[in-house]
């Protein structure tokens, strides 16, 4: 009896999540033109990045830029790395999440989540899953095309199955990490009416320290060690480094465990901030 009630509750919870995903997907497709254009525009920086690194390698070895190396990265490695960070960021970046949470609090829209039998963080998580699915549907074609055109840069070919499995797992975990990390920042809105400056500082750090702009192993000591202990590296650098075989064996296992730990940490942190924020909101405002 107890078991079947639990099972029903479990089924209902998953049916609700699926319904949220479906509704959020439908909403995303309402502005299909703008959405598709915005998605495709994200591919433009590839060209500038390739030119930038070409210029850097050309200055190192003017005769044959492809022969030069920076911290073990050839020009081909660098382009392959950059393309892979794009895949990582397609999972871990959460455009507009923090600011929309802060706005929900500031405008009082949060009442809806307090009055209805629904959990705000869970609702936002599954809405975000829908947004990502819509993004992949539009971006899959261009991604395949770009990787096909740039296949020559992947000099080592496809990684082995274990590495590929770790790469896929790191992408899914980086989505959860990105979500809960940015949710924590947005929930600061319970204390600060405006979080845009805080977000700016975070985005600045994330831009340089996630490995989005350059491989983190190019950083000089002690910064490389510091960055290695921060969670931000899992948002872009880590999945790319796994695919390229830069992290292997015990180091890979430790890093995967650390990633899981960071996801759990930020999940618990977001729950804690939300609970504290609600106490403050209910006590002071509304």
């Amino acid at each position: 009896m107890q078991g079947s009630r639990e099972q029903n509750r479990w089924l209902h919870a998953w049916a609700t999540r699926w319904m949220i995903v479906k509704t959020a997907l439908a909403e995303k497709l309402a502005y299909r033109g703008d959405f598709a254009l915005g998605t495709l525009m994200r591919f433009l920086p590839i060209i500038t990045q390739i030119f930038l690194w070409w210029a850097v390698f050309e200055s190192l070895s003017p005769q044959d830029p492809t022969s030069g190396r920076i911290s073990g990265y050839s020009f081909h490695d660098m382009v392959a790395y950059y393309l892979l960070t794009m895949v990582g960021r397609a999972f871990s970046s959460m455009p507009g999440l923090s600011s929309s949470i802060a706005k929900t609090i500031r405008d009082g829209e949060i009442k809806r989540y307090l009055v209805q039998p629904i959990d705000l963080l869970s609702f936002l998580f599954w809405s975000r899953v829908a947004h990502k699915l819509a993004y992949y549907a539009v971006a899959l074609g261009p991604f395949v095309l770009v990787f096909f055109l740039c296949r020559g840069y992947f000099t080592s070919g496809w990684p082995d199955l274990l590495t590929l499995g770790c790469f896929i797992a790191s992408l899914i975990l980086s989505f959860s990490l990105g979500f809960y990390l940015e949710a924590c920042l947005g929930l600061v809105g319970f204390w600060m009416l405006e979080v845009s400056s805080l977000l700016f500082v975070y985005m600045l750090f994330q831009f340089f320290l996630s490995g989005h702009m350059f491989p983190l192993d190019l950083l000089p000591a002690p910064f490389d060690t510091i960055v290695n202990y921060l969670p931000i590296k899992y948002l872009a650098y880590f999945p790319a480094a796994v695919f390229l075989g830069k992290i292997q064996g015990a180091a890979l296992a430790i890093d995967m465990a650390m990633l899981v730990m960071w996801v759990v940490f930020f999940y618990l942190m977001s729950r804690w901030i939300f609970a504290r924020g609600l106490v403050r909101y209910s006590g002071f405002g509304g």
């Binding site: 439908a26 009442k111 307090l114 009055v115 209805q116 209910s282 002071f284």
Partner: protein, 332 residues
Amino acid sequence: MSIIQIDQLTKSYRVYQKKEGLAESVRGLFRREYKTVEAVRGISLRVEPGEFVAFLGPNGAGKTTTLKLLSGVIYPSSGSASVMGFVPWKRDMEYRRRFALVMGQKNQLWWDLPAQESFRLHQQIYAIDRNDFDANLSELTSLLDVQKLLGRPVRELSLGERMKMELIAALLHSPDVLFLDEPTIGLDVIAQRNIQQFLKHYQEERKITILLTSHYMKDVSALCQRVVVIAQGVLQYDGSLSGIIDSFSGSKVIQLQLGLQQSSLGLERFGEILKTDLPRVSIRVPRQNVSRVLAEILNNYTVDDVAVEDPPLEEVIASLFHSISESTSQAS
């Protein structure tokens, strides 16, 4: 047993006091002055199942704060409340499934999607049985005459149509208690009347308990048997609508239709002349003088018709609010 019980409920806020000017803004960065605002001060109330109660009061009286307390959005500073046996601010999921809150200016529907999609999500969130959902949706959409609008994105609906959809979303799960905060705010006269008629019909059919705040007396007089007046966070009156006039209006209005050739000269000595549109004249007369004044007028003037009426409800309420705010400012 009462479905809503409120005992000595109090809610005070601490608000930042910013003085005018740039210098004060800079000072505010380092030292802030706060003031405690008592939004609700010791309100006690009982509401029985199936009652339709209106909360009246000027802006900032504490009406919306009381609804927020009862829907569990905020905690009280002191006092207690229970709705259907639940303590609202514990936000029990079971409680959330059994009530609904509609705020006139807040949107719970997905802006870019047809309302139908939001309703489907509600069905899932509230775990509404498919047959109940279909029956409720069909009943509500036909009562509010919005069947043809279900497939249109919410952003393309008029304000009145949106409010109808909001009401449907709030009622799909057949709540036992409904809190309505200014449901007709900003609507035109026709939309207001449609919403009023719907709420009256629905409440009579389902016998649900409704607490309503509104500034439109027409909403209140059309819907509510019981009126609670709140001002300055304090309960000032609890009773019938007509009782407000008896309790707070010290005057009556005598409507005269004078005979042909009859001048209105001298009528001002009986009371305040509200309107002169010969042969009709309206005079406000203190309640205790009505019979004496009527006798004198009928003796001294040619009158074709006469009626004694209560002053308009809006006027009574306005003077009530005015006298409350005056007495409070004198006390402080």
